[in-house]
């Protein structure tokens, strides 16, 4: 496949403005770029969802103009979307053959299963064709998507942010699948904004920035630093620069905490934890192991069944969220759009979300717009929120800037402790750098920081100590400096290995 000077202009926006790309047979080619660099627009054009304004896509030596995904599929392009398009109630085989079922009138289930089994053997995608998709893990569902593409005789596979929802183990498995495809001679287009993954799996990398392809480089000669600089267009500090921690008094103590979620499922099953002033405690774990319920319980959004939360000497177990906020707990919730912001409020209304009751934002129950607007404009300047316009609605901002607004609000309240749940989820390198710097700054000011993250890299590079949670219990707490990826990854699966249990 070859893409020549492809352009897609929307009214007022040049989403793609000169994309050039050559995909060779049997190579894994990564497309790397920040959010908003134009990766998804490019994908949509290749897949027939959008028509290019100008330029050309050549596939198998011929210029192609796909007017719909159906035509793209027919030509042999297989796409695995970030969010799967599967029907949970159907089996693997039924999902794979959907739209092109064997059998004339009656659906031939046996034939479908047979064909799917053959495919899975050919491409080494081990899966049970008769399993229900609803029962499969995210990693296996992704395999079903890949099988779907091959069932439709794909000659090229496009993976759009394929690791976004995977655990580290599942990512490993996906990578071995990709290597298998490469061995079969199937070219793979791998779209991502994660540097380490691109470096590991691809043969060549094309970097996109602001709708243009900046450069295509051989992965062998590339380093994280060179790629990050290409992506952002300037020098990026990749490693978090931080001095040694100087932990002080404990600020937060959690004793034997049990928490149920809204579905009455017990998610936290007896957690003991201590966070000190001036340290970043990373809470690592695979999604769904109770880490976010624990964070919610500390912030007061979930009521614990049992146990005790001591904050700065006070037993806050029964306190309301508002009282905890007032006492000095800041919280960056996991889901910024669902919990952290009111999307149709403007930035002023969002900035005062946690302190609207207090002076200077309110006097006698009346909101002081001027004071609130001035404060918001100050935060916008300090945290470089773009566009710098306090009257914009939160929904009009990019994910990174939404996160900046939340962080600015929480950090500027001058809290004693910050709980940051997935603070950089879905953000690009430039934005992550800024947010990490803020977390380290808070720590250096003597605040306690509890970092809850599914990104192992983030936990490893920021934490002074790492607590690993599995199935609602803390498996182990290890010093951050010595921790390795493998060690933490193993603990995340719940196996303690031979490391000692050190619950504080």
């Amino acid at each position: 496949m070859e893409i020549v000077d492809l352009k897609k202009w929307f009214p007022g926006v040049k989403a793609n403005d000169g994309v050039n790309l050559t995909l060779r047979g049997g190579e894994v080619h990564a497309i790397l770029g920040e959010n908003g660099a134009g990766k998804s627009t490019l994908m949509k054009m290749i897949y027939g969802l959008l028509e290019p304004t100008s330029g050309e896509i050549r596939f198998m030596g011929k210029a192609v103009h796909f007017r719909s995904p159906r035509e793209a599929i027919h030509a042999g392009i297989g796409m695995v979307h970030q969010h799967f398009m599967l029907i949970p109630a159907l089996t693997v085989a039924e999902n794979v053959v959907l739209g092109d079922e064997p059998g004339r009138i009656k659906f031939d289930r046996k034939e479908a299963q047979k064909r799917v089994r053959e495919l899975s053997e050919k491409y080494r995608l081990a899966i049970d064709p008769s399993a229900k998709v609803a029962d499969l893990s995210v990693g296996l569902q992704q395999r079903v998507e890949i099988l779907k593409a091959f069932y439709r005789k794909a000659k090229l596979i496009i993976l759009d942010e394929p690791t976004a929802l995977l655990t580290p183990q599942e990512t490993r498995e996906l990578f071995s699948i990709i290597r298998g495809l490469k061995a079969e001679g199937v070219p793979v287009l791998f779209i991502s904004h994660k540097l380490d993954e691109v470096l590991e799996i691809s043969d060549r990398v094309t970097v996109m920035r602001a709708g243009k392809t900046v450069e295509t480089v051989e992965t062998k000669g590339a380093t994280p630093q060179t790629l990050a600089n290409l992506m952002v267009g300037r020098e990026v500090v990749l490693r978090v620069e931080k001095s040694d921690a100087h932990p002080g008094e404990p600020i937060l103590q959690v004793h034997d905490l049990h928490v149920r979620d809204f579905g009455r499922m017990e998610r936290v099953k007896g957690v003991n934890l201590e966070l000190r002033r001036g340290e970043i405690l990373g809470l690592a774990g695979i999604d769904g192991n109770g880490q976010f319920e624990l964070a919610d319980a500390i912030a007061g959004l979930l009521k614990p069944e049992q146990g005790q939360i001591i904050f700065d000497g006070d037993d806050i177990t029964r306190w309301s969220p508002a009282e905890r906020t007032e006492r000095g707990i800041a919280y960056v919730p996991q889901d910024r759009q669902l919990d952290g912001l009111v999307l149709s409020f403007n930035l002023v209304e969002n900035t005062i979300l946690r302190d609207f009751r207090k002076r200077p934002f309110a006097k006698n129950g009346v909101i002081d717009r001027t004071a609130a607007t001035n404060y918001t404009e100050r935060l916008i300047r300090e945290f470089d929120v773009r566009p710098p316009d306090a009257s914009r609605k939160a929904s009009e901002l990019s994910g990174g800037n939404q996160q900046k607004v939340i962080l600015a609000r929480e950090v500027s309240r001058d809290p004693l402790m910050l709980i940051a749940a997935q603070p950089t989820r879905g953000l690009d390198v430039g934005a992550i750098e800024g947010i990490h710097r803020q977390l380290v700054r808070l720590r250096d000011e003597g605040k306690g920081v509890l970092l809850v993250s599914l990104e192992l890299e983030e936990i490893l590079s920021l934490s002074d100590r790492i607590a690993v949670i599995h199935d609602g219990r803390i498996v182990d707490i290890v010093p951050g400096a010595q921790a390795t990826r493998e060690q933490i990854g193993l603990l995340m699966t719940g196996s303690r290995g031979h490391s000692e249990v050190s619950m504080s």
Partner: protein
């Protein structure tokens, strides 16, 4: 540009509804120009007609404010009709009791009684059950609305509020609680400037409450995003109850104002439908208190104009109901219209690129 659009779209919806209504009238064999002419002259043709229109729109505006509060708080108060009648009943009861009180105090007592009655009718059962056991307010407010109307009917049909020896009706409220009309002309339209003043004050209060106070900020936060509201430390249950109380309070106020300003007693009938029309008023106004004035006047004009239209051109007044239905339809379509425009633009760009 956004705010301009929020005015133009509901207006466009109304214009479209009027055009389609006109086609309908023509199809039925009437002359749309005379029909609409009679509608407009009925609504605005003379001083008295304008007065009638304002009189008809006042309850719609005040109930509409209550609906706007509930919508902005993310709640569907469908039972404003019952809250209106409960408010009216309470105001009338206080109106023919306590006759020894000075007039202004007696008047205030009636109004406050109506407001409290409406607030409790919406707040106690629908509000508390919504907050604590999660029963849906559409069902509960609706059911309470029937109960309220039937209760009011019982009270004057053989119940304790029936005036002895008359058709089902309550005694008239004391003379000094009735809003003064000031001039002969206003009296013909039953339009009291006191009622107008109350409606204007109510609009200002609701606007201030929603946009300038922490109370309104919390209501709107709960309405837009309950999870963020919890995160902000807002007691979502409490504000659910508060929102329904406030909503019912304005419906009750409307009932009281109507009794003191126009009806002066409860009469059999109870078929005002203010509670339902006010939902459309609030929707058309996009739940904005200032917009409620304009939308309320519009529907007031449809009511008075519709009666005139029936008399002059023989078109049934039910046509105004058809217009109302069309307006609701087009307001609801308002989200669809931009999509249609977008789809049309895309098609055009596609054509031009494939031609090139």
């Amino acid at each position: 540009m956004k705010s301009l659009r929020s005015i133009l779209l509901p207006m466009g919806a109304s214009v479209l509804a009027i055009i389609i209504g006109g086609i309908l009238v023509a199809a039925l064999g009437y002359n749309p120009v005379t029909v609409y002419g009679s509608l407009i002259s009925g609504a605005f043709g003379s001083g008295i007609n304008i007065g009638n229109t304002i009189t008809a729109s006042l309850p719609l505006i005040i109930v509409g404010l209550g609906i706007a509060i509930s919508f902005q708080s993310g709640l569907f108060n469908i039972g404003a009709d019952g809250q209106y009648w409960i408010g009216a009943t309470a105001a009338v009861w206080f109106g023919y009791h306590f006759n020894s009180l000075p007039g202004w105090l007696h008047m205030i007592l009636c109004i406050v009684a109506g407001m409290i009655a409406g607030a409790l009718w919406a707040g106690i059962i629908p509000g508390l059950t919504k907050a604590y056991v999660g029963s849906h307010e559409v069902i509960t407010t609706m059911m309470m609305s029937y109960i309220g109307i039937l209760l009011a009917r019982y009270l004057i049909e053989g119940g304790p509020m029936q005036q002895k020896g008359f058709n089902p009706q309550s005694p008239e409220i004391a003379q000094n609680t009735q809003f003064p009309y000031f001039t002969q002309g206003l009296m013909q339209s039953q339009l009291s400037l006191v009622a107008v003043a109350i409606a204007i004050i109510a609009v200002i209060v609701v606007w201030f409450l929603l946009y300038k106070t922490t109370l309104g900020y919390q209501l709107r936060t709960v309405g837009l995003n309950q999870r963020a509201a919890r995160y902000a430390g807002i007691n979502v249950k409490l504000f659910t109850v508060v929102a329904l109380c406030l909503s019912g309070m304005f419906a009750g106020l409307a009932g009281a104002v109507q009794m003191l300003g126009v009806d002066h007693r409860l009469l059999d009938g109870f078929s005002s439908n203010y509670g339902y029309t006010a939902i459309v008023v609030s929707l058309l106004a996009r739940n904005n208190p200032i917009g409620v004035i304009i939308a309320g006047l519009f529907f007031g004009a449809l009511t008075t104009g519709g009666q005139n239209m029936q008399m002059v051109s023989n078109v049934p007044a039910a046509l105004t109901d058809v217009l109302t239905g069309l307006i609701i339809f087009f307001v609801a379509c308002e989200r669809i219209i931009p999509q249609v425009i977008g789809w049309y633009r895309r098609r055009r760009t596609l054509k031009s690129t494939s031609a090139a």
